[in-house]
Symmetry: C2
């Protein structure tokens, strides 16, 4: 759960600068929430962040944790594990395959590739456990969204 001290310092610096640059207030809550997420390598959910921060700031609310995590996402200071959809999307394709995913509209399409099915994984990856398979998610802007972006010129 621990990252290097100097990596944490670097992340905290980025965070404080991002807030200052945009005139966003630096509250105790935001600092503690950022410190918590930035120092962990286990990809906690909002509830887990809330539980930890609560030991230091007993009156913090879960809502503030959510708002702050979303703020951090908007600022590009954190991301999520996997692409998030509001609901589960199902996939009837039983063959090994990978996905193209439009980050704008959520369009998802399958494609096959035996090269990608059989990637040579770095030792680091293999070291975490016994590998079953791997899935490549290609993120992009789909053709429709590209066309829409070209058509509607900003005024």
């Amino acid at each position: 759960m621990i990252i290097h001290e100097d990596e944490l310092e670097k992340r905290l610096g980025l965070f404080q600068k991002a807030l200052r640059d945009r005139g966003i207030k630096l509250t105790h809550q935001r600092l503690e929430i950022f410190r918590e997420i930035a120092s962990r390598i286990d990809h906690p959910d909002a509830e887990a962040v809330y539980r930890s921060v609560k030991t230091r700031l007993p009156t913090v609310s879960l809502d503030t944790v959510y708002r702050t995590l979303h703020l951090l996402m908007d600022l590009g200071l954190i991301g999520t594990l996997g692409d998030r959809f509001t609901s589960t999307r199902f996939d009837p394709n039983l063959k090994p395959h990978h996905h193209f995913l439009c980050v704008r509209c959520g369009l998802a399409r399958d494609f096959e590739s035996s090269e990608l099915d059989n990637l040579d994984l770095p030792e680091a990856a293999e070291g975490f456990g016994k590998v079953i398979d791997n899935n490549v998610v290609v993120r992009g802007i789909c053709n429709d969204c590209m066309r829409a972006a070209e058509t509607v010129k900003p005024r």
Copy 2:
């Protein structure tokens, strides 16, 4: 949204056989729900499947759609788009990286690899739109879960 007629037939065959082999009843609802998910390439969520099936079976319930989709998952006849967690998990790592994910306990760990950052993608993938980046998810059983499986022998 359309797949080949013979691919659909093949999927329907697998489905009916899987139910028969296990003595699971073939209901109208199950057949229509499977037909719907099996014939689409757009990875719909339960609500979208429900809306379509409802036009043919007006009395079907959303709950039945959920139960059936989960049954199909348990039977290995469908999967989901991306690995699903009950809640959103956050990631403070801003460097390009990939993930190891334990399918048993949900442990997630980062690893870096410039090779994987710069994969040579098949034309099929590039054809869907403008690519931004790609993320590799390595699915497996983490070391802790492997040890647990070895320690607790089945009786």
